[in-house]
């Protein structure tokens, strides 16, 4: 890699004793989670402890911030990881009192804490002292109450304002001194990939500042999951977070977390099917990213866009045969998958192989049409630069981080499923620009094809009497009270993590989703400063956000 990473002792494993010594007296207790040791600290020590953990122990990735309310206190949990080794984890638990829920902000340590803490304030109601921008993020500014706190009354009326979008050329909106202009993009705009609102400040054609305004698709996914029972009622929701047919990847995030929580072993055969299905989803998802990116960059609604959708149709047909649905699969079960490959088995395998055989020619076609296209290169090379250090600060993961040369892929670094036993590579590019992110996605399609090929070989030869698709799982799952776990998988857009706290019933006490798009999107402001406005659109397209997952 060309980029120099600051010398931190990151790759050295930090033992629990060393962590204890590092945090020292500042730890006022222990609150271990299933995935990591947890240290309870005072609300005044947050920055202090996080700085030490980052600089001296190498925990440079604030993966997730979970906020929740107990009967007697509020709690913020900082889930820390390392980019070099995501299996190294530590949780910092910060309790605050009910009558004064104020905690120190972690924003000076991790830039990504900005949006995390805004969300925690919005939904749970914890104030973060020293936060640079303490506004609501998902709900409208005028909202009353914090919906995930205990005393929230859902039937109370609410008022939502519709402020007129200012006309940017109207004289009184142009600041004559700085000569800047304010521009709204969205929330209903073809280039925003859904319902995103970007407030941009322009100087001529140059972008000075952007402020993504999210929350136009905040569907209360966390509340929905907290109301569902573990066994069957939660699984349909992950499909709808990242709805660009990454369903199985998302379902796996829930399956992995809940299986760890309830200690369920998944049969190997089911793991192979899961791996294959998940990679098919990744191909479908990257195809859409590619098609819409071409649409954004040079308005190509005819060739590339339609080709990408042609290939998506094929993948969706295969997935439909496998799962019974085109988009919202609901195919994973805790402890395995719903059913075996469709009969006739040979036909399904042959059909999938046909798709894989045709894929290299199609990828060549895309390369001819897109990546080797001069216009495309002029638009994308060296625009929307995201330096690796910045990407880490903002908690970027997935193809966005890998396009900036950050070598992280949970499939390899924190293995799950059957990935360990298969031959495939993690794709990284050092360009840090829009072009690299496209290249990463295109190559990942080929890597996914490799994985599917190997899975098909395994499935074909699997002895007929050992095809166990589901483990024995009790009808009602009631994990022990106050067990906490945070687990992540590599979704199509990056690290998709879930935190579950069980409260002894058959429904989760707290269900928190760590969405990769949310944090990738927060890096947009760094990527587009000083760029032209068309590059803002290109950068947004190359981030490949899905608003369902950003807003949840």
């Amino acid at each position: 890699m060309s980029t120099e990473i600051e010398p931190r002792p990151q790759d050295v494993d930090v033992t629990e004793d060393e962590l204890e010594a590092l945090i020292g007296d500042r730890a006022i207790g222990r609150d271990d989670h299933l995935n990591a040791p947890g240290f309870v600290i005072n609300p005044d020590d947050v920055q202090d402890v996080l700085f030490d953990l980052r600089d001296e122990a190498g925990f440079d990735h604030l993966s997730c911030l979970t906020a929740q309310q107990y009967q007697d206190r509020y709690e913020s949990i900082y889930h820390l990881k390392k980019y070099v080794d995501p299996t190294q984890e530590v949780s910092i638990v910060v309790p605050t009192t009910l009558d004064q829920p104020v905690s120190q902000s972690a924003e000076p340590v991790f830039r990504t804490a900005d949006w995390h803490e805004r969300e925690a304030f919005d939904l749970v109601g914890i104030d973060y002292e020293g936060h640079p921008d303490p506004r609501r993020i998902l709900l409208p500014e005028t909202w009353q109450g914090h919906p995930l706190s205990n005393d929230y009354d859902q039937t109370k009326p609410q008022l939502v304002t519709l402020s007129e979008h200012e006309n940017p050329i109207q004289p009184d909106h142009v600041d004559s001194e700085s000569d800047t202009m304010f521009l709204n993009v969205g929330p209903h705009h073809p280039a925003t990939h859904g319902v995103l609102h970007i407030k941009a400040v322009l100087d001529g054609e140059t972008v000075l500042d952007v402020d993504p305004d999210v929350g136009y698709l905040h569907r209360c996914e966390e509340q929905m999951c907290q109301q569902g029972t573990y066994r069957h009622q939660i699984m349909p929701y992950p499909d709808r977070w990242d709805y660009v047919s990454s369903g199985l990847l998302n379902e796996w995030a829930y399956a992995r977390t809940a299986e760890d929580l309830a200690d369920i072993e998944v049969p190997e055969y089911a793991q192979v099917i899961r791996t294959m299905g998940a990679e098919l989803c990744r191909i479908a998802s990257h195809m859409l990213a590619l098609g819409t990116f071409a649409l954004d960059v040079y308005g190509d609604f005819t060739a590339v866009f339609q080709y990408a959708f042609r290939d998506r149709e094929v993948v969706q047909d295969i997935l439909e045969d496998l799962t019974g649905q085109r988009l919202m699969f609901n195919y994973f079960r805790l402890g395995g998958v719903a059913w075996d490959l469709p009969e006739p088995r040979e036909e399904f395998i042959a059909q999938t192989r046909d798709f894989l055989d045709e894929l290299p020619a199609k990828v060549d076609e895309y390369n001819d049409l897109i990546t080797s296209n001069e216009i495309f290169q002029i638009r994308c090379v060296d625009t929307g630069i995201l330096e690796p250090e910045v990407a880490k600060e903002y908690g970027c993961t997935g193809p966005v981080a890998r396009g900036s040369g950050v070598d992280i892929d949970l499939r390899r670094d924190d293995p799950y499923g059957y990935y360990e036993n298969l031959e495939w590579d993690v794709v990284t590019e050092d360009g840090c620009d829009n072009y690299s992110r496209v290249l990463v996605r295109m190559q990942e399609v080929e890597e996914s094809a490799k994985i599917i090929e190997q899975c098909l070989d395994l499935l074909e030869e699997w002895p007929e009497d050992e095809r166990e698709v589901q483990a024995n799982v009790p009808r009602t799952l009631k994990p022990d009270a106050d067990t906490e776990v945070y687990r992540a998988v590599e979704g199509a857009k990056g690290e998709l993590g879930i935190y579950i706290r069980s409260d002894g019933t058959d429904k989760p006490g707290r269900f928190k989703i760590r969405s990769p798009c949310f944090h990738n999107l927060s890096a947009l402001e760094q990527m587009v400063q000083g760029e032209y406005i068309p590059d803002l659109i290109a950068s947004l397209g190359s981030l490949d956000i899905v608003l369902g997952e950003v807003d949840r």
Partner: protein
């Protein structure tokens, strides 16, 4: 270059006679069993009402609003794109601006923050306008109905002509829904515009209750607001 092939066609009147005979032949020809053909009969004149003619034209050339909200929009794109190709039915030109659109497909969950925006986009469309609600969320809130932030169906905010159920509906289902809408438009039907529970109102016009008092400092009297009465929602 020789003109011979062309000449041959000029020489022979066979092709045009065949066509004419096929058209004018005895009784009705099955190949031309369209409404138009029935109206034409053997004569080249048609008598109709201007309104009917306009409805017929309207139904066969619908401009859709390019409007993606949630999961259903992915299936909506598939409906527009290759394979399903909604354009075959005269209903597949997505317009990016509401000012140019006739039909709005509402593809997904509507949440409180988006409700006023959707109402505004609907208001910006020129009359006559039609709405296809796509997916369970636009019917009742679907799987998110119990959410604190989710509007319980598009009909709380705008009138809907056709509901397409499903989560998400398959592209075929959306094509069917649009075809049904075209049928209705051709017959001159449209759903009655009734007063909806959630309207855009000026803040100053709202009754002075506790919530309005609380927000009085933040919101201008003339600002447009939408007041959600969650308790009254189905």
């Amino acid at each position: 270059m020789s003109n011979e092939p062309r000449q041959q066609i000029y020489d022979s009147t066979a092709p045009s006679t065949d066509t004419r005979e096929a058209r004018m032949g005895e009784g009705l020809d099955n190949r031309f069993n369209s409404k138009l053909r029935e109206a034409f009969g053997a004569s080249p004149f048609i008598l109709t009402k201007f309104d009917q003619f306009m409805n017929w034209v309207r139904g066969n050339s619908m401009f859709m609003l390019q409007f993606g909200i949630a999961c259903c929009s992915i299936e909506m794109i598939h409906t527009y794109a290759i394979k399903h190709d909604l354009d075959r039915f005269g209903a597949g030109v997505p317009r990016a601006s509401p000012r140019q659109a006739d039909v709005m497909i509402v593809p997904g969950t509507i949440v409180s923050k988006f409700g006023p925006r959707m109402k505004r986009v609907y208001d910006q469309m020129p009359e006559p306008k039609f709405v296809v609600g796509m997916g369970s969320c636009t019917i009742s809130g679907g799987p998110f109905q119990e959410g604190y932030n989710v509007v319980k169906g598009a009909e709380e905010i705008i009138p809907v002509d056709i509901h397409v159920p499903g989560c998400p509906p398959r592209p075929e289902a959306l094509v069917y829904g649009v075809a049904k809408l075209q049928e209705r438009i051709k017959n001159g039907e449209s759903s009655p515009v009734v007063v909806k529970p959630y309207e855009l109102e000026q803040f100053g016009d709202l009754p002075k209750d506790e919530l309005v008092q609380k927000l009085a400092d933040d919101i201008d009297e003339e600002d447009l607001v939408m007041r959600y009465n969650w308790a009254d929602s189905p």
